[in-house]
């Protein structure tokens, strides 16, 4: 019984939140890694691209809600998602046409593209704040829980409760579907294969007749879709605030680099590594250990390695360690 309680407490406070957060990070990191692999620069504007897509989705959600459309027990935002993705695609394609295309044609060094993306980041930052404002927005509706802590306790008779929010469920399911589609696309379709070829060796790809502009276009399409989905899932599960999305840039980059920049599989692994270590290191283990250990060994302190204030420090530390000892990341991406 005690073991069960320990497992439930651990799932409730550590495993479930970390899995949901990890999926959101993984989707974000996939976008970063695709741009790095194919367009060959670190896109600092990614966090704000997520914010832009989410903002568009929220606006469409409000429009749908005021028109009386709802999605039953699921959040209305899922219906608005395709429109949000479309808006985000238009925005990134416009940016590419106005900014990045020029630097690509003059064959600028990657660092110049990185700096350009920094500028794009600030512009997106401003646009989002201008349109929707800097305040927090909550746009989740529909059923809030798959199972609440109280229901679980009554059902099982355990001391600990287990809550599963519907947004957490949606996050994981959506992430699995999106990742499966992405890998199918990259490995099985002609366009996907041409993208991988372009990423592996640009000159060879050009020689074999791959149209570079088409590859760039498709990459932006996918990146915009991934960014919007990641942003909307994060916003549904937590809340939308332009500044938090800007801050997400750090754990997302940490995920992409830990996994190995340019490696989609690495981005997913990296997302979960970062999410789990942030939560594991800052969790107070007192309760779980209290259930697991015999009474004489029960800890009197909180058994917390780091205060929760240091959550971001954890991603920083992991980033540093990986860059120092394994710059190519876990999955042998490109060296940074």
């Amino acid at each position: 019984m005690d073991i069960l309680n320990a497992i439930v407490a651990l799932s409730n406070f550590v495993l479930i939140p970390a899995i949901a957060y990890g999926s959101q990070l993984a989707l974000g990191a996939l976008g970063v890694t695709l741009i790095y692999g194919i367009l060959r620069f670190s896109n600092f504007a990614h966090g704000d691209t997520m914010a832009f897509g989410t903002m568009a989705t929220i606006l469409f959600t409000w429009a749908l809600q005021s028109a009386g459309v709802s999605f039953g027990p699921l959040p209305t935002a899922l219906l608005a998602l395709p429109f949000g993705i479309a808006a985000c695609v238009l925005a990134v394609l416009a940016t590419d046409r106005v900014v990045y295309k020029f630097y690509r044609e003059v064959k600028a060094k990657p660092i110049i593209l990185v700096m350009a993306s920094l500028g794009v980041m600030f512009i997106f930052n401003g646009i989002v704040r201008f349109i929707i404002g800097p305040d927090e927005q909550r746009f989740a509706d529909g059923e809030r829980f798959i199972i609440t802590a109280r229901e679980f306790r009554e059902m099982t008779g355990l001391q600990e409760g287990l809550a599963l929010k519907s947004t957490q469920g949606i996050t994981v399911v959506t992430a699995v579907i999106v990742v499966a589609l992405l890998f199918w696309f990259l490995n099985r379709t002609r366009t996907g294969k041409s993208m991988r070829a372009y990423s592996d060796n640009e000159d060879l790809a050009l020689l074999s007749g791959i149209n570079p502009e088409r590859v760039v276009l498709v990459t932006w399409l996918i990146v915009a879709a991934l960014a919007t989905i990641a942003g909307v899932l994060y916003g549904l599960d937590k809340s939308f605030k332009p500044f938090t999305y800007f801050q997400l840039l750090l754990p997302i980059f940490a995920s992409a680099i830990v996994g190995g920049l340019g490696s989609p599989l690495g981005a997913i692994a990296g997302g979960f590594v970062i999410a789990f270590s942030e939560v594991f290191v800052t969790y107070a283990w007192k309760k779980v250990l209290g259930y697991m250990l015999p009474e004489s060994l029960e800890p009197s302190g909180l058994v917390q390695l780091l205060s929760t204030d240091y959550k971001f420090a954890v991603s920083f530390a992991i980033l540093l360690i990986v860059l120092l000892f394994k710059p190519t990341g876990l999955f042998k991406g490109k060296a940074v």
């Binding site: 406070f13 306790r153 409760g161 937590k238 938090t244 800052t282 107070a284 204030d309």
Partner: protein, 393 residues
């Protein structure tokens, strides 16, 4: 020689009397920054007290009081200090009503008010640290210190039979001061604080913070935060994970947006905010009703702070801060004729005739210890999803 000195002193007095047909009082408040929405009505309340005094025509034999507004900000100590410096040296104010937030108020007190010898009465700085600040008897406040709130909070919880609590506070002077004051009072009286952890405002997700609070356990979670900020996020996350279902809510958390957001989910949770059921509060709210939002927090304290400065000047018969500072407690406390809001003219007359007054004012102000309000608190409870006042302490 002695005669000569007296003569020159008399001449100097007359000269200053002739020149000072008006006396300036600084309204030094955080007009910009995190408190900007609160400060508008507060400043109006202070100016209402000044208008009332001017309308009576009885202040210091017909002198008029002129309010001088200055922006102390809430978090920028250097900007607040500069504004106070300007008010004193350029405008020549004889007293300051301000500042708004604890950190800036402490900075102005230490860097400007004490060196220049100017009386400062804050309507809203509640940090316990200000109690022991070096002030030469120049600093007063009409809002109670959070040390007092911590004590009241500990009593409420223990009277309800709550023996162990977890505490989370917003990571600033207010949150930390309140959490420490509460922990000290509560453990003194036999309660147990399982954990006292800070949270940052403005984050999207508080599940990690709530996880450590839940691990430490406790019957009630005390949330010393802000209702539109991290405080609400903590409660949301605690409810979602089933970690806590009863909360205790100090003044920063008591407000309609919180009961609107959670309603019956936090049924039975209690809280407290400064407030009294005195007649003064009602009279004040009616007086200000058509001029500004007179129910807004700290407006009543603002009215009382401005009134105190002017009554003390009248009692001392002088606008010199170093003279009238000794009269502030006298006009605020018993004995004397009770003075409600709207009766400042009457008070000025009594003082002019050498009588004694006891300003009840809008908050029932009573200064204790080193010049701060004893403070009464309104205890609230969530009943049927709404804040209901259950008692006054």
């Amino acid at each position: 020689m002695k005669k000569f000195l007296t003569a020159t002193a008399a001449v100097a007095l007359m000269a200053s009397g002739a020149a000072a047909e008006e006396v300036k009082i600084g309204i030094l408040q955080g007009f910009t920054g995190p408190t900007e929405s609160l400060v508008g009505p507060m400043a109006s309340a202070m100016e209402m007290a000044i208008e009332e005094v001017n309308a009576s025509g009885k202040f210091m034999n017909g002198m008029t009081v002129v309010p001088v507004r200055g922006d102390s900000t809430c978090i920028d100590a250097s900007a607040g200090t500069a504004a106070a410096e300007r008010a004193i040296t350029a405008d020549g104010v004889k007293g300051i009503v301000g500042g708004t937030c604890s950190g800036v108020t402490g900075a102005i007190l230490a860097n400007v008010a004490v060196p220049n010898g100017i009386v400062m009465i804050s309507p809203s700085a509640t940090s316990p640290a200000l109690t022991t600040a070096e002030d030469n008897g120049l600093f007063f406040r009409t809002a109670p210190s959070d040390a007092r709130q911590g004590e009241v909070m500990a009593n409420i919880l223990l009277d309800d039979g709550v023996k162990s609590v977890a505490v989370t506070y917003t990571n600033n002077d207010y949150g930390k001061g309140l959490a420490d004051a509460f922990a000290a009072a509560y453990t003194d009286k036999g309660g147990e604080v399982t954990i006292s952890a800070a949270h940052e405002d403005g984050k999207a997700d508080y599940s990690a913070e709530v996880a450590s609070l839940a691990a430490a356990g406790g019957e009630v979670l005390v949330v010393a935060g802000y209702l539109d900020q991290g405080g609400a996020g903590i409660i949301r996350s605690a409810l979602d994970t089933g970690a806590f279902d009863r909360f205790h809510l100090p003044d920063g958390m008591v407000g309609q947006s919180l009961s609107d957001a959670f309603g019956t989910e936090i049924e039975g949770s209690k809280g407290q905010a400064p407030g009294s059921n005195s007649d003064g509060t009602k009279i004040f709210q009616d007086m200000g009703a058509d001029k500004f939002d007179s129910q807004s927090p700290y407006t009543a304290e603002g009215y009382d702070a401005a009134a105190l400065i002017m009554l003390a000047m009248q009692a001392a018969g002088s606008t010199d801060p170093n003279v009238y500072k000794d009269k502030v407690e006298m006009v605020a406390n018993a004995p004397g004729e009770k003075i409600n809001p709207g009766e400042l003219g009457k008070a000025l007359e009594i003082l002019a005739n050498g009588g004694d007054v006891d300003l009840v004012g809008a908050t029932g102000v009573e200064l204790i210890g080193p010049g701060e309000a004893a403070g009464s608190y309104r205890v609230v409870e969530i009943k049927d999803g709404k804040f209901v006042t259950v008692e006054y302490r």
